[in-house]
Amino acid sequence: MPVYSEKVMDHFMNPRNVGEIENPDGVGEEGNPVCGDMMTFYIKVADGRLADVKYKTFGCGAAIAVASIVSEMGKGKTLEEVRNITPTMVANELGGLPKNKFHCSNLGAQALNNAIDDYLRKQGKEVKSREVTNHDEEEE
């Protein structure tokens, strides 16, 4: 019984969209105080949508897969749509995560949100830092 789902393994072995964007419209970092993992997301915005998403990540297999799937989930979406991505959605998209790795899904969604915050601030908008949480209680 492998620890991770096939989807997680696929995104871990072949992470999509890794890297940095030169002159990004927004940069968002997030670190996990529990495990020390870190993610940095870079975004390009066009027509209110994420035209490009890239990231760097320091962390476990789950963290890398989460970053990869979040980059895919975010790309092409409107900022509002991205705001609605919850950790549970991320975990589900990956075919589930081990219980003790669920927090990684949080990390990805949060870092991408932070990048949007950064973009909006650069646009001169006032932004309250927001915490990405589940709207539901699916997390055990």
């Binding site: 871990f12 529990v34 020390g36 760097k56 962390g59 476990c60 297999g61 890398i64």
Partner: protein
């Protein structure tokens, strides 16, 4: 695909000849060693033979061996059983900061039971300074437990020196020898300890068998109450096949220990030299010479252990790590932390533990596949990017 099992600290494979000796006790000799009829005879004899072999491995007497189901059980038994038996003399216990969880958490339970526990620190090599043990001792100290060698960094402690201090102070001394028994020579008289834990699956024996060696005449309170097995000190129907396997594994270990060590030390030193030569920003953890023969441990900077393990596994290599992410409880290795390593360095922990099945080719293969794995992960790492930009 090539494959190399370099995680013998997690468990060693079982020797085929050990399994052979176990099989009759799954078949015709299935009886209970306590039975008075003929079906009890062969199991009873095998039980005592195994006891003698395990005693011989560490220079003890057969009647001083109490079989348990694991190293963890032996450690729990020693800590809780000795502390409870001798609490009228005092309620203070001393352990090192880098003990295995089965000692560390047993000590926490002792705290809940009203004992006081002092943790002795280690240095950057994970070595306990006997002087620190001496200064931790109090009038009411009844028990000290310092492991013989640490499974995570391989450092072998100056147990004999510590034992002298503890004995002179009138306390009992236990050592967790799970990582050393059957791996390096042990003589309980030379070590001067009162109790010593071991586990068969660390020296090519089966899972499900461990033992506590307890110096004759030392009082202990059972952890498992019940029947009269093991002289009333450890109840429960004996797991004969596993015990027989432990006996056989002990016999073989005793016989082969020098040649086994020679083989491992050579390959270990090869890896300890070649890996830092092949990869930048690599730290060797643990002591350069006072270390387990097959034990090579590192911290690889800027990346995290679990992702390295997964990529190694995809290349057929089994290893382990003390990173937060590889621990189910999401705690960074308390051992590496106690050695003073910063959290992000600990995250890059990587540990290779060799067994007798290893070849020079395996070391070569590892040194070939690891650098591109490290490279790949560093390319993804924001810490590495920062480093390159001179931000760290």
């Amino acid at each position: 695909m090539k494959s190399a099992y370099l995680d013998n600290q997690a468990t060693t494979p079982l020797l085929p000849e050990v399994l052979e000796t176990m099989l009759p006790f799954f078949k015709e000799s299935f009886g209970n060693a306590q039975s008075l009829h003929d079906w009890g005879d062969a199991p009873r004899e095998a039980l005592e033979d195994a006891r003698a072999e395990v005693a011989k491995l560490i220079g003890g007497r057969p009647e001083e061996i109490i079989f348990t189901a694991s190293g963890t059980e032996a450690n729990n038994f020693a800590l809780k059983g000795l502390a409870q038996a001798h609490q009228s003399k005092g309620k203070h216990v001393v352990i090192s900061a880098i003990e295995h969880f089965s000692v560390l958490h047993s000590a926490r339970t002792l705290e809940k039971w009203g004992f006081e526990v002092t943790l002795v620190p280690v240095d950057g090599y994970a070595l306990v300074d006997p002087k620190d043990v001496a200064s931790a001792m109090r009038k009411e100290t009844i028990l000290v437990s310092v492991m013989h060698a640490n499974g995570e960094v391989g450092t072998i402690q100056p147990v004999a020196e510590i034992a002298k201090i503890v004995t002179a102070a009138g306390a009992l001394f236990h050592t967790d020898a799970v990582a050393t028994a059957g791996t390096i020579p042990i003589d309980v008289a030379e070590l001067g300890v009162d109790a010593l834990s071991m586990a068969a699956n660390q020296f090519y024996g089966p899972k499900g068998a461990g033992a506590l060696w307890l110096r004759k005449g030392t009082r202990i309170i059972p952890l498992l109450d019940g029947g009269v097995q093991e002289g009333g000190r450890r109840a429960g129907t004996e797991n004969l096949p596993a015990i027989v396997g432990m006996g056989k594994a002990a016999e073989i270990a005793k016989r082969d220990i020098q040649s086994r060590m020679a083989k491992l030390v050579g390959l270990r030193d090869m890896l300890l030299h070649r890996l830092p030569a092949a990869i930048d920003h690599v730290l060797v953890t643990g002591h350069p010479t006072q270390r387990l023969p097959g034990h090579a441990s590192f911290c690889i900077e800027f990346i995290e252990g679990e992702s390295m393990l997964m990529l190694l596994s995809s290349k057929g290599i089994a290893a382990s790590s003390g990173s937060t992410c590889t621990s189910r409880a999401l705690k960074a290795s308390h051992v590496l932390t106690a050695m003073g390593l910063p959290a992000e360095i600990v995250q890059g922990s990587l540990l290779f533990t060799f067994g007798q099945q290893i070849t020079e080719g395996d070391v070569g293969y590892l040194v070939e596949v690891l650098p591109p794995i490290v490279d790949r992960l560093r390319q993804m790492s924001p810490l590495y990017a920062d480093f390159l930009k001179g931000r760290r």
